[in-house]
């Protein structure tokens, strides 16, 4: 366990000290600052627009962190053969995977927490300027939504770890991870659209396509489950059962991905 934490710690340092993180932070501040101006363009639902922009900015920042920094963190080790050095120590392949992932999660959490602080600051600012239009706003739901944005990023981080074990090429890892993100975001809409279309019998779907989509819905993470942005925008507290299931789904999915990654990595050869 200690070895795992040691690897997690240095992975965290490597992530946090990456120059890209600075760029992503600047970009996020820009989005948060922008929302102070943009909110004024709207008539009534200023609270909603502020939350929309803040949570979307946080989400995009998280995606940038995963696709550019985390992919790099994982690929660097293998590309530059640092992994040879680490594995020459008494650390198992499984400990390596979990240690790296823990470091990634820690890095993402700290980065997003800092960004969330800035986001809260702009929310307070806009709320002060247009307090009448924040009637529906709830700090609880806003924070919960931000937490689930983090969870979504954590799931994508596990996807990146898995693909890193399958290929040494960081570009392929990137492309595949982005594809999982795209499919994961759309799968719910597509599935329910087809289901309702089939029921209304105004959409012709072949049996094979149907089976493919059903299989995909079990393989790919349904990222819509972590999306509480609209609830936060209107201060609508979701049911605890729903929140619990989202949390559980995320946790289980991460564990499964890491177990598969551990298996693949244990059999991996390094040249």
């Amino acid at each position: 366990m200690k070895k795992l934490l040691a690897l997690a710690l240095i992975t965290f340092y490597e992530g946090i000290r990456n120059r890209s993180v600075f760029g992503i932070a600047i970009f996020s501040m820009f989005v948060f600052g922008l929302n102070v101006i943009v909110a004024g363009f709207f008539m009534r639902d200023i609270g909603k627009v502020t939350i929309d922009m803040n949570l979307s900015g946080l989400s995009v920042a998280g995606l940038l962190l995963v696709f550019f920094v985390v992919v790099n963190l994982m690929a660097k080790d293998i590309d530059r053969k640092t992994v040879h050095l680490v594995l020459s120590k008494p650390i198992t392949r499984v400990e390596y995977i979990w240690g790296k992932y823990l470091g990634v999660v820690l890095f993402v959490f700290v980065s997003m927490a800092v960004l969330f602080m800035f986001s809260c600051f702009t929310v307070i600012l806009v709320k002060g300027m247009h307090s009448d239009y924040f009637a529906q706003f709830s700090w609880t739901v806003f924070s919960l939504a931000a937490l689930f944005v983090f969870l979504k990023i954590a799931v994508l981080g596990a996807v990146v770890v898995l693909f890193s074990t399958l290929t040494s090429n960081s570009f392929i890892t990137l492309i595949f991870s982005i594809s999982v993100f795209i499919v994961g975001t759309s799968v719910e809409d597509v599935l329910f659209f087809l289901r309702s279309g089939l029921a209304a019998q105004d959409v012709a779907v072949s049996k094979t396509l149907w089976i493919v989509i059903e299989v995909v819905s079990y393989l790919v993470p349904n990222l819509a489950v972590f999306d509480y942005k609209i609830s936060a925008a209107h201060g609508l507290m979701p049911a605890w059962g729903q929140l619990g299931l989202s949390l559980g789904y995320g946790a289980v999915y991460i564990v499964v991905l890491l177990v598969v990654a551990s298996c693949v990595f244990s059999r991996r050869e390094f040249n």
Binding site: V38, F41, F42, M43, R44, D45, K48, V49, I51, D52, M53, L55, S56, S59, Q136, I182, T185, S186, D189, V190, F193, L223, A224, D227, K229, I230, A233, H234, L236
Partner: protein
């Protein structure tokens, strides 16, 4: 030294030309936008998938787009063509599908669609708001208003206004308005029941008194209407005046109007009062 001077001269010339060209460009764009046909909005099904999890943000963006489009047309004093209206309607539809809790499009629909003659379409969009923004009294009020003001459907108008009155934070006058509309719409019984319910829920004593007074007036009017119906059934004709009910023996005496007016029978057989059921003259 000469090289630097030449470089600076070139820089100056390029900056000046940039300023001039940019000025011209913005002017041209203003012209282009005022003559452009309204854009195309992807239907909700596609928009929601293409939002990639940013539905709320996309709804904000699309709404802003429609508002600026509408505003620009107004600025240029242009009348909106059918195509323009179609764009606006689809846009508002998509915006409210992406985020059905978004208040601004509903307000916009009421202000700019209903008042421009597109009442049915406005109501259709407002229905979504009524269902989803179930804490918001304004939306059913808008729908009700549209029904009684534009469509002259008092019955339906009353229904919606009453719903609005039952939602939290509603303006107290809505309860009396609802009852009045119901009464105008020929639904005195409904008005009576509604008022009784409102009285039970009202904590404000001033409002309570006003509602109770209105209730008494309507109950008495309803009683008289029932007597008139009986008269018509038995006598085969409408009574000439309210007093005929007493002479014909249908009532012993006329119950007093709490607002102090005289009962009158309207042409359609409804009972009203010279007080118009209001304290102000």
């Amino acid at each position: 030294m000469r090289r630097i001077l030449i470089l600076l001269l070139v820089l100056l010339i390029s900056l000046v030309s940039h300023a001039l060209v940019t000025f011209e460009m913005w002017r041209m764009r203003g012209q282009v936008r005022s003559t452009t046909v309204a854009g195309y909005v992807l239907p909700s099904k596609f928009s929601s998938v293409l939002a990639f999890g940013y539905k709320g943000l996309l709804s904000d963006f699309l709404f802003l787009k429609s508002v600026t489009f509408f505003g620009e047309r107004h600025l240029a004093k242009k009348i909106l063509s059918d195509g323009d209206w179609q764009y606006l309607l689809t846009s508002l539809d998509v915006v409210t599908d992406l985020d059905p809790y978004f208040e601004d499009p509903y307000v916009f629909a009421e202000a700019n669609l209903a008042w421009e003659g597109k009442v049915e379409e406005a109501n259709r969009i407002l229905e979504k708001g009524r269902k989803n923004r179930n804490w918001d009294w304004r939306i059913p009020y808008y729908i009700g208003f549209n029904y009684f003001y534009f469509l002259q459907d008092y019955e339906k108008g009353a229904e919606y206004v009453m719903e609005a009155a039952s939602r939290p934070g509603s303006h107290p006058f809505l309860s009396t308005l609802g009852a009045r509309l119901a009464y105008y719409g020929g639904k005195s019984k409904t008005a009576v029941l509604f008022l009784r319910q409102m009285i039970l829920e009202t904590t404000d004593p001033g409002l309570r008194t006003r509602l109770e007074k209105r209730l008494i007036a309507l109950e008495r009017a309803a009683e008289l209407e029932a007597k008139i119906e009986l008269f018509v059934k038995e006598q085969g004709r409408k009574p000439t005046s309210i007093e005929e009910l007493i002479t014909a023996g249908y009532v012993d005496s006329l119950p007093p109007d709490p607002y102090g007016g005289q009962w009158v029978i309207l042409k359609n057989g409804r009972v009203f009062s010279t007080s118009k059921f209001t304290d102000s003259r």
